[in-house]
Structures are given as structure tokens and as C-alpha cells.
């Protein structure tokens, strides 16, 4: 086995890819397939579980084991897969509606349990598959077919929510940035436990340019905040902006206005999630400066490891299960 035994094509299934031309899902698919090919993991050991939505078509296109399940339930199903066989590498592909609307509960519970699944949340801030209704990440006031006068629902910030759900790994990336996406995939893969990557994904049909402030040639420099572990957070074409953290939260300041030491040094491994949370508040929807990168990456035993350990311990204590002893365990009597 060498590091390069796979090509991208090994992870391409024979099914025609059926997203709208121009959809951000294509770039993510390519990034993931390339990433899988770069790993030294047998391809039969990957399992992709998705819900329903455009994003959730994903497993059909990846030549591994996969299940295109039902709306919102992928984290629960993936929990079943991962707990049954901790040797598998389990991926969840989901959308903002799938993960945060109907599936919100399963997602936050998977996070707190630290089930070793890698959740790729394609956030296009819209329901794509059902043709353009607002989603739990759509901005307030958004006009869609179901909100002709503007949405009145405050959106979730998926990174904040995951952090508060006791997630051990939370990151954000952008469909258009293949390298960054790959970096995040690598970090999530290396993390032992639940990992959520929010991927800003352009739906060019129903919510085009939602992420223009982060991807547009003119806007992106001023808005994209790269989070790099161990490094002070600065951004802008000439690092002219910096992020500081104080008791009021995280704020963007002019680098020139603050002492170098005042600039917040990013530490995703901090066991206390408060700083990661504060950074997550810099964005609420990608309107203005928005951090991308790994917000949080801490160690905690994974759910399935603990489940497995209990089986081992039980066998050590009681010996392997003996059915004939079990049925006699509450006392028997004999009739001749």
C-alpha cells in the first residue's frame, strides 16, 4: 500500500452527476473525491450517508458504500453505522435544511455524543431541491416563494450551534476554494470524533452569489478571515485588519490601531469553547468579515470507542455471553 494507490476516478461512480450546471456541489464533489484518493484508506472502508436535498445526492456519485437516506436523519443513521463498526470512516453529507431544519436534533446530539462521523454541511442558505424556499440559514427578510414579504425567522449560525452542542471539531470552508476545502477535510479526517465542516456552497439557481462577499474578486480580501492555529488573526489584502477578543466578544479592528500583542492568537485546541464561540459570532451569514478555517479541535473519547470499551469490560467481568446461563439467571426448577 502506497500513498498514491488511488486516483480520483477510483472514487467516481458510474452514475451521471445530476446537479444544475454551475452548482457549487460539483467543486465539493471533486475536492472530496481527490481527497479520498489521497488517503491511505481502503475505499471499501468509506461510508457516505446523506439525507435528502440537492447536496444529499452526493453518495450516488462516490464509488464507496453509501446511503441516500431520508430527510434530516443522516446523523442518526451514521451513528448506527459508526457504532456498529468503528473501523469504517463514516461521512455525512447534508444541506442547511436537512441538517438544521428537520434534522437539527440529530445533528446536535451526534455532536455532543462525539460520534466519529465527519459531517459535510453544504450551506447554500436555501432549499435547493424543493425549488427555492428559505432555509434556517437564510437571512432575515429574505424573499422566497414561501416568504413573499420577507422571512421573519432569525437564522442559525451553524458554527455557533455546533460549538454549543459540545462539538469537538468545527470548521468552515467555501466551495470555490478547493485547497482550503481539502485542508479542512484533512483536519476533520484526522480528528478523532465528530467533526462538522460548514461548506458555503453556491446555489446558482435559487440563491446565486449568496457568498459573493467571500468569493468575489473585489470583496473577498476585505472579508475573508483565515483562522490559522497558533497565529494572530489578521486579514485583508495587506493584513490591515485584525481580530481582538475582549469581554464584549470578538471584534474586527484596524491592525494599525492595536498593539500586536492585543491581536487574538487562534487556538482551536483550547478546551474552553468560549473563544471559538466568540469568533463564530463574527459572521452571521457571510455578510461582512467571516472567519473560515478550524474553529475548534479538541480531544474527547469518541462515542463508539466508549460503547466498544463497555463490551470489552463486560466480557472481562462476566465472560463472554452464555445463553444457557442467561436463561437460568433468575432461578429455575425442574419438573420430572
Amino acid at each position: 500500500m502506497t500513498d498514491t494507490r488511488y486516483e480520483r476516478s477510483d472514487f467516481q461512480s458510474d452514475q451521471e452527476v445530476r446537479w444544475c450546471p454551475g452548482c457549487g456541489d460539483y467543486t465539493i464533489l471533486a475536492a472530496v473525491q481527490n481527497f479520498l484518493a489521497s488517503l491511505d484508506v481502503d475505499k471499501e472502508d468509506h461510508v457516505f450517508i446523506s439525507g435528502i436535498g440537492c447536496a444529499s445526492r452526493f453518495p450516488y456519485y462516490v464509488n464507496t458504500y453509501g446511503m441516500h437516506s431520508i430527510h434530516g436523519r443522516a446523523p442518526a443513521i451514521a451513528t448506527g453505522v459508526a457504532t456498529a463498526n468503528p473501523d469504517l470512516t463514516v461521512w455525512v453529507v447534508t444541506g442547511d435544511g436537512d441538517a438544521l431544519s428537520i434534522g437539527g436534533n440529530h445533528l446536535i446530539h451526534a455532536m455532543r455524543r462525539n460520534v466519529n462521523v465527519k459531517v459535510l454541511l453544504f450551506n447554500n442558505q436555501i432549499y435547493g431541491l424543493t425549488k427555492g424556499q428559505y432555509s434556517p440559514t437564510s437571512e432575515l427578510g429574505k424573499r422566497t416563494k414561501t416568504s413573499p414579504m420577507g422571512s421573519v425567522d432569525q437564522p442559525f449560525n451553524p458554527v455557533s450551534l455546533a460549538i454549543a452542542s459540545e462539538a469537538t471539531f468545527v470548521a468552515r470552508t467555501i466551495d470555490m476554494d478547493r485547497n482550503h476545502t481539502t485542508e479542512m477535510l484533512q483536519a476533520a479526517y484526522e480528528h478523532n470524533g465528530a467533526a462538522l465542516i460548514e461548506i458555503y456552497q453556491n446555489c446558482n439557481v435559487f440563491n446565486d452569489k449568496a457568498f459573493a462577499q467571500l468569493t468575489g474578486r473585489e470583496e473577498r480580501d476585505a472579508n475573508r478571515i483565515n483562522l490559522v492555529p497558533g497565529r494572530p488573526i489578521v486579514f485583508g489584502a495587506n493584513n490591515e485588519f485584525a481580530v481582538i477578543l475582549d469581554t464584549g466578544g470578538a471584534r474586527v479592528v484596524a491592525t494599525a490601531d492595536v498593539a500586536a500583542a492585543a491581536i487574538h492568537v487562534h487556538d482551536p485546541a483550547n478546551p474552553d469553547p468560549s473563544a471559538a464561540f466568540a469568533l463564530s459570532r463574527l459572521s452571521h451569514g457571510p455578510y461582512g468579515p467571516t472567519p473560515v478555517g478550524v474553529f475548534r479541535d479538541v480531544d474527547r473519547p469518541s462515542y463508539e470507542a466508549m460503547v466498544k470499551q463497555q463490551l470489552v469490560d463486560a466480557q472481562a467481568q462476566k465472560g463472554p455471553g452464555d445463553l444457557s446461563r442467561l436463561v437460568r439467571s433468575v432461578g429455575t426448577w425442574t419438573v420430572d
Binding site: E44, D45, G80, V81, L323
Partner: protein, 625 residues
Amino acid sequence: MTKETLEAPVREKRDRLVLRFAGDSGDGMQLTGNRFTNASAVIGNDLATFPDFPSEIRAPAGTLAGVSSFQVQIADWDILTPGDAPDILIAMNPAALKSNIDDLDPGGLLLVNGDAFVDRNLEKAGYTSNPLEDGSLDGYRTMVAPMEELTKLAVADTGVKGRATLRSKNFFALGLVSWIFNRPTQPVIDWVNDKFGPDSVIAKANIASLMAGYNFGITTEEFQHLYDIEPAKLDPGEYTNITGNQALAWGLIAGAQAANLPISYASYPITPASSILEELARHKNFGVRTLQVEDEIAAVGVAVGASFAGHLGMTGTSGPGLALKSETISLAFQVELPMVIIDVQRAGPSTGMPTKTEQADLLLAMYGRHGEAPLPIVAPATPAEAFSIAVEACRIAVTYMTPVIVLSDGYIANSSEPWRLPDLDELPAISHPFATADDSEFLPYSRDPETLARPWAIPGTAGLEHRIGGLEHADLTGNVSHDPLNHEHMTWLRAAKLDRIAAGIAPLEIDGPESGDLLVLGWGSTFAAIRAGTRNARREGYSVAHGHLRHIHPFAPNLATVFAGYEKVLVPELNSGQLAMMLRAKYLVDVISYPKIQGLPFKATEIRQKVIDTITGTGDSEAGQ
């Protein structure tokens, strides 16, 4: 008062007796009943129990709402039910007396904790005068013991203090009853020591109280009328006393072992199914993974995932949970993965009466999914039978690659009966259709020609990578397909599995004549009452037979033939006539439905009466459903 001063007590021999222990929820009546049952089992009586909890919440002590009871029938022959009405009632307080006395057989024995009959308690129970004094109990043989007083004295030296001194009064009652019925106290003592540790204060107090009660019986003149019940002439074999949920849990372990598959049982607690999860959680050394998850939808989702990964995925719940699982069960059906789904039914609709029994989820199990999604359904007839039904569910699930629903109910779940241990080595091996890679293209929706099972290709197996999903898919390849004729083909193909399952089911057996005036057809927990009721009627000369379905879907193939033998068919159910509806539709037989929707099991006498009314054409029994 020493033993010697006493005359030898009267010993009356009985072939069967029904006892009911009744007290406040806090009085430990379930424990008392269970220990008594166990002691009876150990000396070889046949028995059947019926625990009855007040409601899902603890009511204030002493109120009618807080009464908890446990009924047991012990006999020297092969009885079936816990009995219709008790011969002996043990009442720990006025509320327990009030809510149970009407059931006591006239002339029955009433054993009362006299200390509890103080004004406050009488008032709480709604008594305006003290029934122990106002003559209203004159029809019964009433014996009043100052149980609390004596318990306090008995535990004085054990180290318990304060309010806790009274906690053991149920053991006092148990001791007294053990004396009256000549049950050994040692099994109880062993259990207490095992449970609490022989050195613990609580074990000491319980044992002291138990012996105090027993000795009180010996020493008091009042309790010199004793009962003997000989060991039952059960089939030879080794027996244990088992509840339905325990039997189910063990059966699942046995079934998965027979199939050589690990279990993943995912569940969300709900009465009366929680104890299956609790029981399985205690047997991790069998490789059983139990997952208590966030809700019922997650539970069945986890089971789907586990089955995909090559485990036998299982989930258990009660009605509200089964309703919630519908959508995901539809997915499991569509992707054709094995799974066992347990519904321990309780009285609905909505939250209904959660601690009471009912059989009203049958049509939900049959039809509660969108689209055409027929699933096999099996149902145990008695607590002990839940073991073999669980094994059968595993067999069908794995052999045919399909989710299977097991319909139990609250009565079966909590009741117990002696179970003759099966020869575990003879449990039939279940072979699972794990796919292996070869040179040909892997077709996830190809099928075993006999069972119509598709191959089960486990993640981690090289060469079998494939995708499944809830969208309609093409035959063989499983690729997404919206082809109209493929959809029709796949729909009938999935349905055809049920025919294959039917072909593998034993014919329905009949108790009684193979033709005659009346066939009583039942399913699930009504078994004991129907069997006893029909036998009683038959002994009185009525031409009646009893058949009991274990397979509700598909039906045993000989059902149409069986029907042909009888003038009339009666279907007693703890619902509005759900099985009756299915039978009428399928066989166009004018089945007579006999519904009972009270949260209570049938009584044998009710069945007997209905049988007679139906045969003779009296009563209102002629009304169709």
C-alpha cells in the same frame, strides 16, 4: 405465645388460588408479588401474573390514584391466566381496599394492614366510615394485622432509622402470606441478600420483617387456616419464571446468536417497552450494543445504519414511538435491510393510558407507512412465548432481508409465567445472506430466487461498494429509476416477499374440533383468556375451537381452509376490531368482532359467555364489526 402452645393448623388443599397484593405505589407491591411468585415457582406451581400500575405518575400516598396491585394465580395444573377475580386480597391501606374489594370473591380471604386505617387515610380513599368497623366487609373472611407496628418492632435492631423503618412492611405482609400458603422463605432471603448485600441495613430489615410476618402467622390464632397447593403437573423439564419483556430481550439475543450477528438495539425509553432496553443493556458481554438515543426516529435510524453495517439492527417502543418511526421504517423497507421493530402496545390514542394494555396498534403496524410498504408482523401469545417469537422475528428479518414488526403489549410485557427452557442448541441456525465479492458485477438488488432476499453487502467488503437509498430504483442494479413499469415491478416484487414468508410458516393449529359451530380466532395477549374460556365452554358441551395467530402478516396459508370448518368465527380483540377487519377483507368471511377497550385483558369468563351467546344466538353478539 410460643409455637408449642398452638394447635395444629387446618391445612386446606386447593388446586388453584388467585392472590392479589394491593397497596400504595410506594408500598412495594410489585416486588412483594414477584417474590411470592418466585417462591411459588420454586416449589413447582404453575402460575401466571398480572401487575397493574396506577398510572404513569406517582400519585400522593394513600390516594386511590396511587394504588398499585399485583395479581398471581398459582395452581397445581397448567393454568393460563392470572385469574379473573382474586380469592385472597392483601390490602395495605384503605385506598387499596376500596379499589380492589369489589373484585374479591364473596367469601374470599381479606388480609388487611390495620395500622393504615387511620382517619387521614380513610379520608384520602374517600371512606366516610371505617370499613373495618362499619360491617361493610362482613361478606369476607377478614383478618387485620397491625403490620406497621409489628414491622417497626421487628426492625428495631437492624439499624434502620426514621421513616425507613416502615419501608419493610411489605416484607412483613409477604412473610405472613408465605406462612398461610406454605411457601418457603429461603428464596426470598437469598434474593434480598443478593440484591442488597447480606451486610446491608436494608437487607437485614427486610429479612427481619419477613420472618416477623411469617412468625406472626405461626403464632397468631387467626391465621391457622392454611392452604396447600401441590406442584403442578407441568411437562417435564427445567423451568424459570419469566416476564414478557425479559423473554423478548433474551429471544433477541438468542435469535441474533443463531444468525451469528451482533445486535445493535437502539431505543428511546417509553412505558411499557423501556425494560427491554434495560434488560439488554445488562448483557453487553453478549456483544449487545444498546443505544439510548434522542428520540424514536433516531432509534430506528440507528438501527437502519447498524443493519447497513452488518449488525442486526433492532429498535423497540410503544405506540406513540411506532407512529414516529413510520417514515424511517418505510426507508428500511425500501432499502430492504433486516431489522426487528418491537411495539409493546399500550392503551391509546395519543398518550392514552400508558400503563394499561391494548391491541390497537395492529393496523398502524400493517398500514402506517406512506406508499406501498407491506411488512411482516408477528405477535407472542404469552409472556414466555415472547422468546420464540423474538427468535422468529430475527429469522424472518435476516432470511428475507426485511424489517419485521413484533406486536407485544403491556400485559405480556409485565406479566410472568413459568417457561420451560428450550434446548438452546436446537435453535435453528439462521443463515444471513452476506454477499461476497466475485468477478461479476455486484447487483445489490438481485435476489435469492427462493426468499427474494437481496444480497447483504457489508461496508468494509472490497469489491461490493454500492449505494442504496429511499428513491425508487431499478431492479438488480439499484440505480435510481423513475421508469413507470420498473416501479410497478418493484412494488409487487417487494410485496411478493410476504408470499415467500407465508410459504415458510407452520399451519395454524386448532385447539378443539376441526369443524363445528364456532371458531374463536385470536392474536397476542388474549391467548390465555380465550384458551381458558373456550375450553370451559367446550367442557360444557359447546362446539367451539380456538385458533391463535402468531403470524399476523402474512397469515398462515391454511387459514381459509380452517374457516371453512365452522359456522361462525368470533374474533375477540383489545381494540375495535382490527384483526377482524383484515380477515373480513381478505377472506370475505362475516367474522364477528368482540372488542374490549378498557385497558384491561379479557377474562376467561367473558370469553366463555361470549362463546355461548354467539353459538346460541343470544346477547348482542350477532352484530358484525
